[in-house]
Each structure stands twice: as structure tokens, then as C-alpha cells.
């Protein structure tokens, strides 16, 4: 063995612990890195899973809330429709009552008592507007009186209208028991 080779062996032997130490350290580092990477991957996966779960949960909650909102909107809409139909029916009944009343009161013209009624209305008109008022028969029965700047409508339909206005809540019996 040459002295050069011997020197090399000595160096190798001397470096052996260093190499071994370096190797050990490298292994340890690699292992630590690997395990950290593994932990990080696990944590990341865990976070991603949790996030996905939260997203799903949120989506479900949102869906449920939207569904509930939509259901409430539908309910409100249905209630509104039902209510407006009820009210429209009541209005129809009320208008029918007014039409009927006007019709009936016009029929008074054909009765025997009409002449005396007309006389009373004429008297009333002159009391309201003064003796000089011009009093005319209304086409629907009753009278209309005129004085300069003033007028008194004592036609049968106008009287029926005013009488109905005064009855107030009695008309409610049309739709209330």
C-alpha cells in the first residue's frame, strides 16, 4: 500500500464520523421534513374538509332560508289574493245594494203616494233656497231646485244615496252574520 493510499484511508476513517453524522442529520432532517409535510398535508386536508363541510352547511342553511322565504312569500301572496277577493265580493254586494235601492226608490213614481211626496219635496226645496227658487221635476223622480248660485238636489236617487250613506254599518249585514 502506498503511503498516498494510506493517507487517504486515514482521512476517510477520520471523516467517517463526520459523514455518518451528516448522514444522520440529513436523515433526521428529511424525516422531520417528511413528518412536517405529512402533518401539514393532514392539517390542510382537515381544513379543506372542514371548509367544505362549512360551505355545504352554509349552502344548506341558505337553501333552507331561501326556501322558507319563498314559502312565506307564497303564503303572503295567497293571503293577499284571498283577502282582495273577499273585499271585492263585499264591494260588489255593497254596490248592488245601492243600485237596488236606487231602482226601488225610482219605482215610487208609479205609486199613488208620489204626488203628495213630490209636493213635500217641492216645499222642502223652497224652504232651502227661498220662495223664488225654480223647481223642476228630475228625470228619475223627485225635484231639483235652482236659485242663482245655488242648487238643491232632491231627486229620489240623490235622497236614496244620502239615506244609504247615513245607514253606515248596517250594510255590513250583507256579508256578516
Amino acid at each position: 500500500m502506498t503511503s498516498r493510499a494510506q493517507a487517504l484511508d486515514r482521512t476517510t476513517d477520520a471523516l467517517h464520523p463526520v459523514r455518518a453524522g451528516l448522514l444522520r442529520e440529513a436523515h433526521a432532517d428529511a424525516e422531520a421534513l417528511l413528518s412536517r409535510a405529512g402533518r401539514e398535508a393532514d392539517a390542510l386536508l382537515g381544513r379543506a374538509r372542514a371548509e367544505a363541510r362549512a360551505l355545504l352547511e352554509e349552502a344548506r342553511r341558505q337553501g333552507e332560508a331561501e326556501g322558507a322565504d319563498a314559502a312565506r312569500d307564497l303564503l303572503v301572496e295567497a293571503r293577499r289574493k284571498a283577502r282582495s277577493r273577499t273585499l271585492a265580493a263585499r264591494r260588489e254586494a255593497y254596490e248592488e245594494l245601492r243600485r237596488e235601492a236606487a231602482e226601488r226608490v225610482r219605482e215610487l213614481r208609479a205609486t199613488g203616494g208620489y204626488a203628495s211626496l213630490r209636493k213635500r219635496l217641492e216645499h222642502r226645496a223652497r224652504a232651502l233656497l227661498g220662495p223664488g227658487a225654480e223647481v223642476r221635476e228630475h228625470a228619475d223622480g223627485g225635484v231639483v231646485a235652482r236659485a242663482p248660485g245655488r242648487r238643491a238636489d232632491l231627486s229620489l236617487t240623490a235622497l236614496a244615496d244620502r239615506a244609504l250613506d247615513r245607514t253606515g254599518a248596517e250594510a255590513r249585514s250583507l256579508w256578516e252574520p
Binding site: 283577502r83 263585499r90 245655488r150 253606515g168
Partner: protein, 467 residues
Amino acid sequence: MSPRGAIEYTSVRELRGPLAIVAGVTGIGWDEYVRITLASGELRHGVVLDADRDLAVVQVLEGTAGMDPEGVRAAFAGGPLRVPVGTDWLGRVCNGRGEPLDGGPPVLGFQDAEVGGAPINPVRREPPSEPVLTGVGAVDALTTLVRGQKLPVFSVAGLPHLELAAQIAAQATAAGEAFSVVFAGMGLTHADASFVRDALEERSAAGELVLLLNTADDPVIERILTPRIALTVAEHLAFAEGRHVLVVMTDMTTYAEALREVSAARGEIPARRAYPGYLYSDLASLYERCGRIRGRPGSVTVLPVLTMPAGDITHPVPDLTGYITEGQIVLSPETHARGVYPPLDALSSLSRLMRKGAGPGRTRDDHLDVAAQLLAALARARQVRDLADLVGRSALSPTDRRYLDFDEAFLRDFADQRSDEPRDLDTALERGWRALLALPRSELSMLPVDLLDAHGAKDAPDAEAPR
């Protein structure tokens, strides 16, 4: 039949804007209600703005468009407007003068009443007591509304005051007793009117709500009638039918503007900011119609909403309203900017009658203590926030930093609420407790020891330890 209602005056001298000048009249008074029949048979309504000798100036509510002075007949009612009163109003939606908007028949009642009403005789007033719970946590916990009270909401343009008013109208209750709401919307835009209708649909369908909607394009004189009709209907529901009635009136500033317009048309001498000199007594004639009457069931509680032009609390409308009412709920643009609804400025808000309607035997034993502690902590938190702006958060003491945490919890957990979420008082107070427990026990000096123990208040180990 009174001779007054039967005579129609046919000599209309002039039509100008919404005004009709009727000549040849005798014995006509201010504010008299007028039925106007057109040549076509169409019926319109009006109110006497001014009467002088044989002339009467009538403001036509539906406007004078399409009217020919030749064929017009005006019948004077002999007195101010009267409306039928009774339970028929419940569940109805009407315009600002009480005519149906919901497609139904006219509102009918066995009795009628003058819309001007008469304030309650002070001797017969029963002091307000018992709460009206609005279902808005921050309002119920900190500025409890009491039956028979008048408590205005002060807001500025752009804040969700209409939303809050509608939410209160939709949710308010009186501990299971018969309860109704009369909502008078004045000068609303059509979008706002439709929002209000939608928000209150459920209560309306349940027959607990009267909705009067005067829109911005409706005649101004109608806007003056709207709150009066609302209060007249409410008074009957309360004192004849024995219900607790909440009257929500929004927006009182547009009402006052209508009053100013009518006053100018009458040629009256303008006072502050051109509002009539009688603005104070006019507002009082509305607000003072709330209350309870000795020996009668029921109550009328008034919640007027008003916007302060340019946020000016010294503007005549909020200023005069503040003189008459018993406290105020103030909304704050800063809180609104932080995304909190309702944006209540808790430190500026106050219900003067809260002690009569809240606390032991009325709401919850700890209610008043918790409310006082919340406000005290909030006041300190505001100082701390100002300090933090100067020195930075890191320079604050640990306790001060806890106050900032409290402030955040107060806004996010206690005050913030969805506009369709009814929150009962228990939940609201528990959330209040939760916010307070962000503070060390030593800071909660307004709460009794047993309550602090029960809620597990802890003294922070690092209370004042240096960092």
C-alpha cells in the same frame, strides 16, 4: 237632513291649481269638508282653506284637473271631516283620507267621529304603565315603549327608519292583550308605500292593522288629514273597543311641510324656517292624543317617525317634537355605516317613561339594571374609542381593550337584528348580558352580585397586568 248638506253652490269663480273659489256662500267656516260634484257626475272632495264674506277657497283633494267651473256643484258639510269609526277599519288599506285602496267597500261604522278629535282631559289621564314590546331587541331593552306614551324616532334621510317603523308595526305586542296597529304613512314614495304594504301584509291579513297610505303625489291637505284620521280610528279602537293601539306616523317632517304649504296658501305670517307659528300647538294636537283614560280599558301609544333635514336636531320639527314627546329613539348614520340594523344611537336615545313600563313585575327583574349597565359601559367604550384613535389600540390598558371588545359585541350581537326577525325581550337581555360579560366583573358595578354570580361574571386574571 241638514240644510247645509242639501244646498249645493254652483257659482265657482275660479279654479287655480288645486284651489276652487266658490262664490255666493254663507256661514262657511275654515276646515269645513266639501263634496264637489262635477258636470259628469264625478265626485271629488275638498276642505275649506279660507272663507271671507261670501267667498270660500276650497282645496280640492283630488285636484282640479278636468274640472269645468260651469258645471261644478259644491256642498259644504257644515263642519270638519268626520269618519266612521269601529272595528271595520281593521285589515283595511286606505288612502290618506280614508278611502279604500284595497278594492273593498267603503269603511262602514255604526258611529262616526270628527277627525280633529279632542285631546284627553288631563284630569282623566291615567299615567302610562306596562310596556308595548316592539320585537326590536335594542329598542325594547334600552328604550322601552310604554302603553300611552309618545316616543318619536329621529332619523336622517338615507337611514332605514321606514324599515324600522314597519318592523315595529308588524311585530309589536302587548303581552297577549288585544292589540292593534294603525300605520299612517305620509308623503311616501310609491316604492315605499308598496314596501310598507308588503311588510305589513301578514298583520293586515290577521285583522290587527289599519293602513293609511298618503303618497308623495297626493294633495298636501290630505297629508294633514291622514294622521288625524289615524288617531281618530285609534282612539275608538282603544277607548271604546278596549284595545291597546300603537299609532305609527311616518314621516312627520313631510306632514310639517304640508302644513307649511297650506299655511302659505292661507297667507299666514311665516315663523321659523317658514313653518307656521302654530307648528308647536299643531304637533301637540296630534301627539297629545295618545294616552290612557281613567276607568277605561285600552291605550293609544304614538310612535312618530321624523327625518331631520341635514341631520339638524335643532330643525323646528325635531326641536318642537322633542318638547312634546317623552324621549326619543335616535338613529345614527355612523352605526348604519358599520352595517348594523337597526342603527340605534343608544347613547342619544331615551324613553322617559321606561321606568313605568319595565323592571320587576312588568318585564324582567334585571331589565333596568342591565339597561343602565349597558349604557354606562357604552359611554365608557365611546371614550376609549376616542382615546384609541389618538394613542392606538396597543397603548390601551387591558381593561380598556375589553371595553372595545364590549363595544363590538354590543353592536354585532346585541343591537344587530334582521328586519324580519322578531326578538323577544328575554333573548335581547341575554344578548345584553353576553356583551357585558366581555368586561371584567369589577367593571359591572351596576349589576347586583347575585345576578353576576348567576351569569358567571369573572374577574380577568390579567385585569390590569402590564403587558
